[in-house]
Amino acid sequence: MLLSRVAESVYWAGRYLERAEATARLIQVHTELFLDLPKSAGIGWTPLLAVTGSGESFRDRHPDASEERVIRFLAGDADNPGSIATSVAGAHANLRVTRAILPRESWEVLNQLHHWAADTRADAVDRRTRLAWTRQLIRQCQLLSGLLEGNMSHDDTYAFLLIGRYLERADMTTRVLDVESGILVGQRDGAAPYADVTWTSVLRSLSAHQMFRRTAGVMVSGPSALRFLLRDPQFPRSVERCLIEVSQALLELSRYDDPMAGCAEVQELLEQTPIDSMTAEGLHDYVDLLQSGLAGLHGLLAATYFQREPSTDPVLLAG
């Protein structure tokens, strides 16, 4: 038996944890990319804001997007609803509500992560400590996922955790693609000199580079990478794989008809749209379509299981 309110909290905890981890990975990879490329490449820190959908709220508060400001905003800013610290705090708050059904050990890990992220967030800003910080954060998130996977019954509660995680992950993958779409498509024309490096970093930011190489076995090219990140049925961060996970988790639940149909709709959109010949603009529109499909899926889940108005999460709806 699972209370609707608890299901919603678990779902959001899944989303927030995934968001924290994904944002840490983005910061990590973008920092590495920044160090690799010459100044003349003109890579700044605004793409990070764009990916996390927080450009506007950042500009409201800060005059310029310096490295320090952007990273502080994304890692530790308690006023930024999409920052890592806020996401961890969000997961903490939501799982606190559900603490009665959470394995105790995993609660302790989350509790430690929550304190640690808040106490050490300055380490994210300093470039010398930043990568160690993001690595540690990602590890803690992974540790928590592992503990939950190993210690929690794979029941309906767990299903909502997975649905939250994979929906957030699919959303994040489409965001990364959206921001990088100009560069991606540009590469086909051989116009952008550092495009291959950028593409590699896109793959890296989704921890996809190695798996892509094994599967694709070719030079990194825009269309092949794009296909991989959207459609690969096995890679755990591709949009297709995330939706497969969502639909499998839905099978654990009763009354899944509507959300299952919503899930299938997005999958169809993934499989039926030709990608290779897409222009930059076309890709942007396509990503928009995918994102609204994902938002629609969220709405169906809320209407079916949470029995009240869909939650208005600012970051989610920003897409």
């Binding site: 105790r104 009763s254 009354r255 299981y305």
Partner: protein
């Protein structure tokens, strides 16, 4: 230094051990604080800046009580709760106790926690207060008194359980040798008690813990107990009463009937149809469902009538009246301000008395004469004269002290003890309870909301411990 405060008979082994630690005791204290943070043992403090989760304040040096003494206390508490439950059941039934002139009708008439809506209801086995937390204090002469009874929504038991978890981590080396009585039976006992109240025998009962929500100061405890009992932790909005006057949980699979609600929401917020209409914490129709016998509530609404400190003063009489026995545990002598003679005594002797509002909890509104300023005395005089029924006074009990780590040194601090009593088929009293300690030097205020801390409470049989130590020393010689 330790021996002075701690060396009651039961503590020999503990004193030896702690003395042998020397300064290393500080490391244990640090280990305990780390454990508390990691385990997320918190309580919520309300401030103007918002609600803050604070780490649970804990002192590693345990408080020790002998099994023999505990048995007496335990018997006294059982006796007390038996009488109190008979009293509450009588009040909402035939009210013989009033008719017989044992309990004054005018006190009842002005009781804040008496609920007319409960008259005529008869909960299973006539038990209204299934869970009670009574506060005990030890005076300078060693006598243990009951200071107050909490029958509405007593809290603190989770901290008793968690304190033990912490000391087990920190003093792992001590536990087997000393035969410290375990405390962790409580959640199982409570779960069994609640399940037995189900109005649908034969069906596996659905039990829920009703919490005001995550911002309540005791939310940690609500979640903890639900988890330990395998019950659902619910808020008012998770429950709905349908046309059949049954209570249902809103779940992802649809509505599921709930049989027993361990409610940690105050009476007045339980049901906006009957009590406060503006309550968002309760469930409209819950009282209808309860009266119809379709759901059991623990504690029953109205049980808080016995929290009244005026009722408290009558408990020794009630024990004699209902059980024909002498009380095993004494009350602290109590002056009732609604009685003219007692009131003039109180007002003439404010310096030596503690004046308490009859229906507050958490230590709020308590006036301690020996520490009060002139203005405070004038103010309490006004309050008592304006509403004498709602004030009682007691002599200042010099709470006993126990050695406590403060700023790296061991010093005596005042403490009390809250054991928990379950009234089910068979009564159950916790082994020890929650020891609360005033961390400020000389302070008598132990409430965690007002800067108090806590200790683990060890009930130990000194005869077992000393015989074991003898045999150990023999085998080593």
């Amino acid at each position: 230094m330790l021996v002075g405060g701690l060396a009651r008979d039961a503590c020999g082994g503990v004193v030896d051990y702690l003395t042998s630690l020397g300064d290393k005791i500080l490391e244990r204290q640090q280990a305990a604080e780390v454990a508390i943070k990691a385990m997320g043992i918190t309580f919520t403090v309300y401030t103007e800046a918002g609600n803050i989760d604070r780490a649970w304040p804990f002192d590693v040096i345990p408080r020790v009580i002998s099994t023999q003494e505990w048995q007496k206390i335990s018997d006294g508490l059982t006796q007390r709760l038996t009488a109190l439950n008979l009293f509450i059941d009588d009040l909402y039934g035939a009210a013989k106790v009033v008719k017989d002139g044992v309990f004054p009708a005018e006190v009842l008439a002005k009781s804040v926690n008496y609920r007319e809506q409960c008259v005529g209801v008869r909960p299973a086995n006539g038990v209204w207060a299934h869970v009670c937390g009574s506060d005990l204090v030890r005076d300078a002469d060693g006598t243990v008194y009951v200071l107050e009874d909490n029958l509405r929504v007593p809290s603190g038991v989770s901290y008793m359980l968690e304190n033990r978890q912490v000391t087990k981590r920190v003093f792992a080396d001590l536990f087997r040798d000393l035969d410290i009585h375990p405390v962790d039976a409580y959640p199982n006992r409570l779960a069994a008690l609640l399940a037995a109240l189900s109005p649908r025998p034969g069906v596996t009962p659905v039990v829920a813990v009703l919490t005001p929500g995550v911002f309540n100061s005791a939310y940690f405890e609500h979640a903890y107990l639900a988890q330990q009992m395998g019950a659902e932790l619910v808020e008012g909005s998770d429950l709905v009463v349908e046309d059949d006057e049954c209570v249902y949980l809103r779940t992802v699979g649809g509505l599921v009937q709930v049989d027993v609600i361990y409610r940690r929401v105050d009476d007045l917020f339980l049901d906006p149809e009957v009590f406060r209409a503006d309550s968002a914490l309760g469930v409209p129709g819950l009282m209808r469902a309860w009266r119809a016998g379709n759901v059991a509530l623990a504690n029953a609404p109205g049980a808080g009538v016995a929290d009244d400190k005026v009722v408290y003063a009558f408990v020794p009489e009630l024990i004699r009246y209902y059980l024909g026995e002498d009380p095993l545990l004494p009350n602290v002598p109590t002056f009732l301000c609604h009685d003219d003679r007692q009131r003039s005594h109180v007002l003439a002797n404010l310096d030596e008395l503690v004046v308490k509002p009859a229906n507050e909890s958490g230590g709020y509104g308590v006036f301690v004469g020996s520490m009060a300023s002139k203005a405070e005395k004038a103010e309490v005089r006004c309050r008592v004269e304006a509403d004498p029924r709602n004030y009682i006074a007691q002599p200042i009990v010099m709470l006993s002290t126990a050695p406590t780590l403060c700023d790296g040194r061991i010093s005596p601090r005042h403490l009390d003890l809250r054991p928990f009593i379950l009234s089910g088929d068979r009564p159950y009293v916790t082994q020890g309870g929650l020891t609360r300690v005033a961390l400020q030097e000389g302070s008598l205020v132990v409430n965690s909301s007002q800067g108090g801390g806590s200790k683990d409470t060890w009930v130990i049989d000194p005869t077992v411990v000393s015989s074991r130590r003898q045999s150990q020393s023999q085998s080593q010689s």
